[in-house]
């Protein structure tokens, strides 16, 4: 077991050569590759981290935009609701006004129709009562209704007090006329009696005009410058109209209930 000094130094040299060669071909390259890989992976990680940050920022941005959109959507929806509510209320108000208008018109139409009906009823009733009264008077007492009406008018003229007569005399003295309006043609004899009576109680030189008018229901009136005396079936017909009106109202109330 001896040491060969040539081999000993040769091994030292061999080792140093091996050290140099491995350092050149193995360690340097391998460590370089490892460091390069570490740097590359580090760069990749940094890039990934950057991408993650970007993605997070983008996600936060998207979330913020989404919330903005949601808020705006809610706002728009609320505005639309408010507008729709306002529009609905306006439409309701308009419909209510139209209904009220139609109701008023309908009420007015109904009232006009009722008035027309009552007017026609009044006319018809007046005529019927007049005709019936005329026949009754003729049949029972052999009297002429028109003559009786003129008689009543004459009696009223005769029974006027002085104050009332002066109301008619004033216009007569100024050249005015007295108009006698009747619902029928006054017979000539009756006209003569009326002339006499008027001339006697009011004024002797006044003109008397005779007019027939259907507006005066079964009666006669004396008119001069806004003053008049008359007799007609108006009071009776007013009573009848009032009764009919009450009957119609009660009927309508019953139908409603």
């Amino acid at each position: 077991m001896h040491i060969d000094w040539f081999v000993f130094f040769s091994q030292i040299v061999n080792f140093l050569i091996l050290l140099f060669l491995l350092k050149k071909f193995l360690y340097g390259r391998i460590i370089g590759a490892i460091d390069a890989r570490k740097a590359k992976i580090g760069a990749l990680f940094a890039e990934a981290e950057q991408s993650r940050q970007d993605a997070r920022t983008a996600a936060e941005d998207c979330e913020r935009k989404r919330q903005d959109l949601e808020e705006r959507y809610e706002q728009s929806l609320n505005e639309a609701r408010r507008e729709a509510e306002t529009y609905r209320e306006r439409l309701m108000e308009k419909a209510r006004e139209e209904v009220d208008y139609l109701k008023v018109r309908w009420t007015e139409a109904l009232r006009a129709e009722r008035n027309n009906f009552l007017h026609e009823l009044r006319q018809l009733a007046g005529r019927q009562i007049y005709a019936a009264t005329r026949r009754v008077l003729k049949d029972l007492a052999d009297l002429n209704l028109e003559e009786r009406i003129v008689e009543v008018l004459l009696a009223r003229i005769a029974s006027m007090d002085e104050n009332e007569r002066n109301k008619f005399r004033g216009p007569a003295r100024e050249g005015g006329t007295i108009t006698v309006t009747c619902a029928f043609d006054i017979p000539t004899a009756a006209q003569a009696r009326l002339n006499d009576t008027l001339h006697r109680y009011l004024s002797g030189d006044m003109d008397v005009t005779y007019v027939r008018s259907d507006d005066i229901l079964s009666g006669c009136e004396l008119r001069s410058d806004g003053h008049k005396i008359s007799w007609s079936m108006k009071d009776y017909l007013d009573t009848i109209e009032e009764r009919f009106y009450s009957a119609l109202y009660e009927e309508a109330q019953e139908q409603r209930t």
């Binding site: 060969d4 081999v7 000993f8 091994q11 030292i12 391998i30």
Partner: protein, 242 residues
């Protein structure tokens, strides 16, 4: 070349060429073989290294090997791993591959020669003060020999020599004795038993390479770090000595 005979105690005895004082023995031949394999293998593998995450299997093996050695060094020394790495890595790889190639018939590990192990131990013997002085400066390094008192100086010097001797003899003894045991067993029981011993021999070879490298790291670390740290960290792993 003839297989090393039982009466030949060392591959140094197998002289292949001799001229004056130049003698080319089997030790040198097998050393060159190991060197050639290491260098050519390194050149081939590192010829097309990839710095991408995807790499070849050989590159992956080499990187694992290099990183393992670096981490082992890093466990002992605090800093300057790459300063010591080429020296310690080369020691480890050379001893490892010298021992592993014993499965080749006719091959005799150069590390079973006391000349080779002595050369390696002498390099460690010189490397330790070189690294220590370069790290701490010559005065600070020499002060270590007089700590804790100057009385310890001879013991420190004796320690330097004795551990160098221990390095050389430990590696030589393990490898040489194993080869002799294999040779004897081949003569006595030439069946399966020598194969089992051969496998055991590979394990011993790996362990011895590791021990040699680790001890070298520890010696360098003790020389490059402060006295207190060195005392704390340096522990002679006597349990690994055989």
């Amino acid at each position: 070349m003839e297989v090393v005979a039982i009466n030949q105690i060392s591959p140094d005895q197998v002289i292949l060429f001799s001229w004056w004082f130049v003698t080319i023995s089997a030790t040198l031949l097998y050393t060159w073989l190991v060197m050639g394999v290491l260098v050519i293998g390194s050149i081939l593998i590192t010829g097309n290294l990839s710095s991408d995450p995807i790499m070849t299997r050989w590159q992956s093996v080499l990187e694992v090997l290099v990183e393992t050695i670096r981490s082992e060094i890093g466990d002992v020394v605090k800093d300057g791993v790459d300063t010591y790495f080429p020296f310690i890595g080369t020691l480890f790889l050379f001893i490892l591959f010298s021992n592993l190639f014993t499965f080749i018939p006719g091959y005799v590990a150069p590390t079973s020669s006391l000349t080779t192990t002595s050369a390696l131990a002498i390099m460690v013997f010189f490397a330790v003060p070189i690294y220590g002085i370069s790290k701490q400066g010559i005065l600070e390094y020499l002060k270590e020999y007089f700590r804790p008192t100057f009385i310890f100086f001879p013991f420190h010097v004796m320690g330097e020599f004795s551990r160098t001797l221990a390095l050389a003899v430990r590696l030589f003894g393990n490898l040489m004795s194993h080869e002799k045991v294999i040779a004897i067993l081949l003569a006595v029981t030439p069946l399966l038993f020598p194969v089992v011993m051969q496998v055991l021999g590979l394990l011993i070879g790996i362990i011895q390479a590791y021990i040699f490298a680790v001890l070298t790291i520890v010696y360098i670390a003790s020389a490059t770090q402060s006295h207190e740290e060195a005392e704390h960290k340096t522990k002679e792993p006597n349990s690994t000595n055989r």
